[in-house]
Symmetry: C2
Subunit: 366 residues, 2 copies
Amino acid sequence: MPQILTSRFLFGPGPSNCYPEAMAALSWPVLGHLDPVFIERLDRVCEGLRTVWGTSNARTLPLSATGSGGMEAAFVNTVSDGDVAVIAVNGLFGARMCEVARRCGATVVRVDHEWGQPVDADRVLSAHPHPKVIAAVHAETSVGVQSDIAALGAGKGDALLITDAVTSIGGLELLADDWGIDVGYAGTQKCLGVPPGLSPFTVSDRAFERRVKDPRSWYLEIGLLGGYVGAASGSRTYHHTAPVTMIAGLEAALDRILAEGLDVVQARHRAAGTALQEGLQEMGLELFAAEGARLPSLTTVKVPDGVNSAAVRAYLLEHFSMEIGAGVGEYTDTVWRIGMMGPNANSASVTLVLGALKEAMAKASV
Amino acid sequence: MPQILTSRFLFGPGPSNCYPEAMAALSWPVLGHLDPVFIERLDRVCEGLRTVWGTSNARTLPLSATGSGGMEAAFVNTVSDGDVAVIAVNGLFGARMCEVARRCGATVVRVDHEWGQPVDADRVLSAHPHPKVIAAVHAETSVGVQSDIAALGAGKGDALLITDAVTSIGGLELLADDWGIDVGYAGTQKCLGVPPGLSPFTVSDRAFERRVKDPRSWYLEIGLLGGYVGAASGSRTYHHTAPVTMIAGLEAALDRILAEGLDVVQARHRAAGTALQEGLQEMGLELFAAEGARLPSLTTVKVPDGVNSAAVRAYLLEHFSMEIGAGVGEYTDTVWRIGMMGPNANSASVTLVLGALKEAMAKASV
């Protein structure tokens, strides 16, 4: 038998708890992927995604894969054997970009940063004289750091700018067109408040013209995907069976976010993140991410000396049914990651997390 | 505003209507992808998938992509530049395999069959003396034909056998181990009665040993995916954020199917398909797929002369909120595809479809 259902407060790095509108939409009647009602739904989703991406790109769509699939789609469509990819690395997902780009055949120029620090645009832009692509993570989930993508866009020259917006889309300011993002990918399970499984994806006309014409991947080829959403001519060409139910959930979440107001939602994320970070510091804890580059949607905080990270997380799970995240890599046991995303980005969440963490630190470590 | 919700009878080639247990599970509380309760769920799903695949393969898992993503995973993990892939083509999905394999660098030996006919194992097995892989579709959704995979397995020699089971898994007999399937992929939105978005995937130890060691795809690499589900050592390595909600739906559907009894479910699909095919012939219609190779889960029937296929389908959609499928390729306007899958595989569905089709043919074509 399956285990008894357990509800969870999801304050980790994602998935977050989802907007109730999104969860309700998952049980809407299933539609065929060629049904006119579904096609209209898909069009509305693409339009809503343009709003949260801050773009007018025709090729803006929910990719039928998770955020990591979106990362792969970004590179497989832009680099092939011998193309130079300059990649900023200030956490796990920048490092993953290097591996994905390498497999696509790119010559990777990796620009490492200390974890916890934002991307240094000058170093990245001067790393190679004429890269095919420059790539960076807007909101590094592994370290809780946001970087200045606009600075990369301003100096990119002929290069295409790839941006990971998994932990910013729907919660932080994101202006793909103004910032010069050519290819962007994201996830649904963070600030958008939808379960994981789709990757909001956007490609500029400039990137589309300079795309890899016969990429190794059929499933992720932007030419075929663009045809499916009718991006080019208004006519549609069957590609694969769209995940219709997840797309219904995404539609409902986008409607909810845009009804609340994207600026209001962003302000709610900022307020929750700021309150959490202040509260943690008032408890005597030290934040991990550099001041001035701290993500509101995901806060990283150092585990105090003498406190057992895993024991605290286990206590929270057992006594509060609450998930917070461990750190990543060498920081697994020395950093916690606490998300305030989607419907969780509010002052009640902050109070709950701070109270629970205080109790857990007192009781779990003795 | 989104369009008013419309329920649909989904009697097309898929997605089908889903098991109510699966739809209910989609609104279960979202869990973190590292939550112990989710890990137990994932283990149960992998075990249930082994049962419906008819395999004991450790590397049996729900891939975070649709069936077409599963197809790509099958080839990207088994063929690279210059490897020979013999591919049986008796419909659209066999043809798609050729394109996907080509992009992976394979030298494709394509063995074409007349559409509507099953795969001729002798021709396929004699097409090349020492291919790296042999691939065929078990249940060709585009033509409603099933083929003898066991015959390919018996004669495969050193080759790895890749099989598409998208429209057979969960509804037709499928014995991956007995038939000699090395790599199999499927979809959830047909006989399994779950919305589209996951690809049940299985890889034999033999195929794993002979896999492409550094495949072009990071997202679909079976080595990394096997690590995530703890296939090798029992320990787990984070790969990507699993689509936790879709996996909950799949768990519920598998539980439902196995509680009903896999043999009972298969018998229900056979009975519904047979009754539909007899009923269509009694109406004077001619079936498209060759006798003896007709899929119970998906029936293809010729559109009678003088009948407008699109008008009939539009009538069904408008008056019955019912979807049936058009044909594929050159048969778009001359063949209908009618699915009896998952919860829809029952006698009431047959009566409803036959009655609705009779009315639509009488009224929509005048």
